[in-house]
């Protein structure tokens, strides 16, 4: 390995400059903003922790936090379970593998807006084919526009649909990388399917699964578009998630300080989630390498 000099620092500069200019400096400014009261065309006035106190007492915030935590756990673990099950089937070999993989990857290319169009159409109570099929089966209406629980369920469905390719590819690749000889040896030793999965597959893919989990936790925590386009947080702010709460505080209610404070709460929660997983990852990583 070589020692670096000025040319190397210059090579790092473009990437670093983007991150500093568009993330680091703005986020420091947001931190300052979170201790002030400000709005369109008004000077920021220092108010201490008033914004944080205001959020603490705001029921809408707690509901948004609860919704966010519920939804991201359903999304992340739903994706993971589906990916594990699918990958376990796929590693045994499937017909038309290339074609099937291409189709599974398709949602990766679809924008959130178009995904919302698709699911809104399929679940429209009057014209949607899924909605009418459910009705034909005599099931109760899936009233995502008026029932907050149903609305959040639909957000989870759309999100899982969009991001399954990401999680699946990582899990599937990790499963393919587990040496075949281990399974052969275990078979000779008389291990059954479940035992082989539990003692060979699981330890073999754990590192990759944790990485996928961290990524998906951090990314799904940002959930905005699906909720915004589907329900805009309604009815009566019942389906808001943190990003939607932040957006409304800042731009609908023109309360930049509260928006900024929400932003920093989001930063801290993301950081904590990531820290927990990084610790887990390192521990498991070392054990696997040992």
């Amino acid at each position: 390995m070589r020692r670096f000099g000025l040319p190397q620092l210059l090579m790092l500069a473009p990437a670093q400059l983007l991150l500093v200019a568009f993330i680091a400096i703005p986020s420091v400014y947001v931190f300052w903003l979170s201790f002030t009261e400000s709005s369109y065309g008004k000077e920021a006035v220092f108010v201490g922790l008033a914004n944080y106190a205001g959020i603490w007492e705001d029921d809408a915030f707690w509901r948004a936090l609860r919704n966010t935590l519920l939804v991201i756990n359903v999304i992340v673990y739903g994706e993971l379970l589906l990916s594990l099950a699918l990958a376990a089937v796929f590693v045994q070999g499937i017909p038309f593998r290339g074609l099937v993989l291409a189709i599974i990857l398709m949602p990766y290319a679809i924008s959130e807006v178009v995904a919302v169009v698709m699911w809104k159409y399929m679940l429209d109570p009057n014209i949607g084919s899924i909605a009418r099929a459910l009705a034909a089966l005599g099931l109760p209406d899936f009233a995502w526009a008026t029932n907050p629980t149903h609305g959040l369920v639909l957000v989870c469905i759309i999100s899982i649909w969009l991001h399954l390719p990401f999680t699946f590819i990582i899990v599937y690749a990790a499963m393919l990388a587990v040496p075949k000889e281990l399974y052969e040896a275990a078979k000779i030793d008389g291990a059954n399917g479940w035992q082989r999965f539990r003692h060979i597959t699981v330890p073999g893919i754990l590192g990759a699964v944790l990485v996928a989990l961290i990524f998906r936790y951090i990314l799904s925590f940002r959930l905005f578009s699906e909720v915004w386009l589907l329900t805009a947080g309604g009815p009566a702010r019942q389906t808001e998630v943190l990003a939607v709460y932040l957006y409304k505080q800042a731009f609908t209610y023109a309360n930049f300080g509260m928006g900024a404070a929400t932003g920093w709460i989001m930063v801290v929660i993301s950081g904590l989630v990531a820290a927990v997983y990084v610790v887990l990852l390192q521990r498991k990583g070392f054990r696997r390498d040992a």
Partner: protein, 276 residues
Amino acid sequence: MRERWPQRLLRALVVLLVVAWSGGPVALIVLSSFKPTPEIFSFPPSVVFEPTLEHYRTLVEKWPDFFATLANSAIIAVLATLLTVAASVLAGYVYSRYRGTAIAASALFMVAIRLLPPIVIILPLFPATSLLGVNDTYAVLVMLYATFFVSIGSMVLKTYIDGIPTELDEAARIDGAGELQILLRLIMPLAAPGMVAAAVFVFVYSWNEYLFAFVFTTTEAKTAPIVISEMMGSLTGVDWGLLFAAATTQLVPVTLFVIALQRFLVAGLTAGSVKG
């Protein structure tokens, strides 16, 4: 060992289900965009129908803006991709080949700053871009998209460049090649698959992104997803056929792009997880 038929049947069933789940909604939208309006509302959905271009005609006649925003999306996505890949290959090379406190600190900063939810920075950036008069320009979106993918891009490129033996650089150095020559003539050709993988990530994101485009554009730099969301939110009732025609026009190019480059996408995703 030969499998029994129930196992094979079960496997085929799982494959069919996942194909229907992932591909079904896309196929439904694309097919419906060619259906005459009454057929869009038929239940069960018609599979055989007289294809029509009426919705595409409406799109061209009533929403000429849509094609301008599609062009905006393309320009912004291409520029953001070029910027991201260029910045990432430079950084990835340094992270792969050099050591030192400053390098380690820079790499840590890159990974850590990625944690920040993008929505947090729109608060200060919105007034700042208005002040600088760069609101509603390509530049804002290009920079923002590049910013949010330069970390993952650099890490993917580092993984790929790690796979190129350092003996090759050393040999080139002995032959008198400078840093820039090594990067251009040796590293970049060999790390090309990684560059393509990074390009796919950022291109797909930029083409489809909603939040930043929603906040930072109004007319000039508006992107296609924003127009589609406006069509969906129409107060006078949704024209589903038109919406499907617009959605199909927006999704077909990027879907073909992803399928054509899926090899690189899969390799890039695994480079970021299994090895990293």
